[in-house]
């Protein structure tokens, strides 16, 4: 039940991983931040405000990626009823919401000096807001529906519905006229960001991913503890 048989084993692994990530996180953070804030050159057009990109872009990527994770795990959970996946999705959701909000807020701060406005109801920004809303809904459902199986079912359905939003966010800048500029880093083809700016971008991405993993493992640990406690009570 709940794969609890190997959970004590898993538990030790999680502890080890948390310790390992903790030990390298701050060093990597310092390296990445010094690259992002000091070593990398300012933009020819925007000057130093381009440095917002080093937080904004990774945060948006993580927001999208973790939602996609949640949605696919929810599909598996919905079809095969694998209970452990609901613990994983529950642990990912707060991180995703946090990074989506960071992407929206830093984007807003970046928009002011470059575009001349904090907010625009263009397709990219509005669909990003929808993403945050789906995260919020997912978390709220898991928090306020007391019956676990029911909460799992409803929240996974919500997560799957929200999956439709992901390609809209990705391609909104290509499909519609938006104020937001199109993607600079493409899956195929060359990126339009100079390599001296690409390096700090990927470093920051690495660091933020590491931070996500850290928070995820901590949250996952508490979820396992919660379930163990519930079983004891019975």
């Amino acid at each position: 039940m709940f794969g609890l048989l190997n959970n004590s084993n898993l538990f030790q692994w999680i502890e080890k991983l948390i310790n390992f990530f903790n030990s390298i996180f701050f060093i990597l953070l310092l390296v990445a931040l010094s690259f992002a804030l000091i070593i990398s050159p300012p933009d020819y057009l925007q000057g130093d405000s381009v440095r917002i990109m080093y937080v904004h872009v990774p945060a948006a990527w993580i927001g999208l990626a973790s939602y996609t994770c949640i949605a696919f795990l929810s599909i598996l959970n919905f079809v095969f009823k694998i209970k452990n996946f609901s613990l994983v999705t529950k642990s990912i959701a707060p991180i995703g919401l946090l990074f989506t909000c960071i992407a929206i807020i830093t984007g807003s701060l970046w928009g002011r000096p470059t575009w001349g406005t904090f907010w625009a109801w263009d397709a990219r920004i509005t669909s990003m807001l929808f993403l945050a809303f789906f995260y919020f809904l997912f978390i709220i459902i898991n928090k306020f529906i007391k019956d676990d199986t029911k909460a799992n079912k409803i929240s996974s359905i919500v997560a799957i519905i929200g999956l439709v939003n992901i390609p809209i966010i990705k391609y909104s800048v290509d499909w519609f006229n938006t104020l937001h500029q199109p993607a600079s880093i493409k899956i195929t083809g060359t990126s339009t960001i100079h390599s001296s700016m690409l390096l700090p971008l990927f470093l920051m991405f690495l660091v933020l991913i590491l931070y996500c993993a850290l928070i995820f493992l901590m949250k996952y640990k508490t979820e396992i503890i919660k379930i163990k406690k519930k079983n004891l009570k019975r």
Partner: protein
């Protein structure tokens, strides 16, 4: 291996996902004009039912050598390399606003050739040129 229930759920889910993707696609297609953040000068030229009392946004490039800065008025021409629109504006412009750069102007049309802007937004791009414009340019080059 797969039980009947699992198969049922899987097929239900895949069918509903396909339907929802199609539905969203159709909705987006039909709403496309409302989702567009700005119109291009060509859109305005083509459009027969323009409402001159309504605020709209026009986007494009600031034409080379068209920017005239006077005491309390800025005049420039928005172009998508096929059609042009004369814009008049008084107020502050964003830092990135300059000639041969992307711009979005919010305001009212006076007629099909003249636009009075109340707000200017800069549309920045590390390629100097938004792809929408590039596409329009490509089309016009043919």
């Amino acid at each position: 291996m797969l039980t009947k229930k699992v198969k049922k759920r899987a097929s239900l889910l895949s069918i509903s996902l396909i339907i929802s993707f199609l539905a969203i696609f159709v909705i987006l297609q039909s709403l496309k004009n409302n989702i567009l953040y700005f119109k291009s000068p060509s859109d305005i030229k083509k459009n027969q039912e323009l409402d001159f009392s309504k605020k709209i946004r026009v986007g494009g490039m600031v034409k080379k050598n068209s920017l005239i800065v006077q005491e309390n008025e800025i005049k420039f021409v928005i172009t998508d390399f096929k059609n042009e629109l004369q814009v008049s504006y008084s107020g502050t412009v964003p830092n990135l606003f300059s000639e041969e750069k992307g711009v979005v102007a919010e305001g009212k049309l006076q007629d099909k050739k003249f636009f009075i802007a109340e707000r200017i937004l800069a549309k920045h791009d590390e390629n100097y040129m938004p792809p929408e414009l590039k596409e329009i340019m490509k089309k016009n080059a043919k």
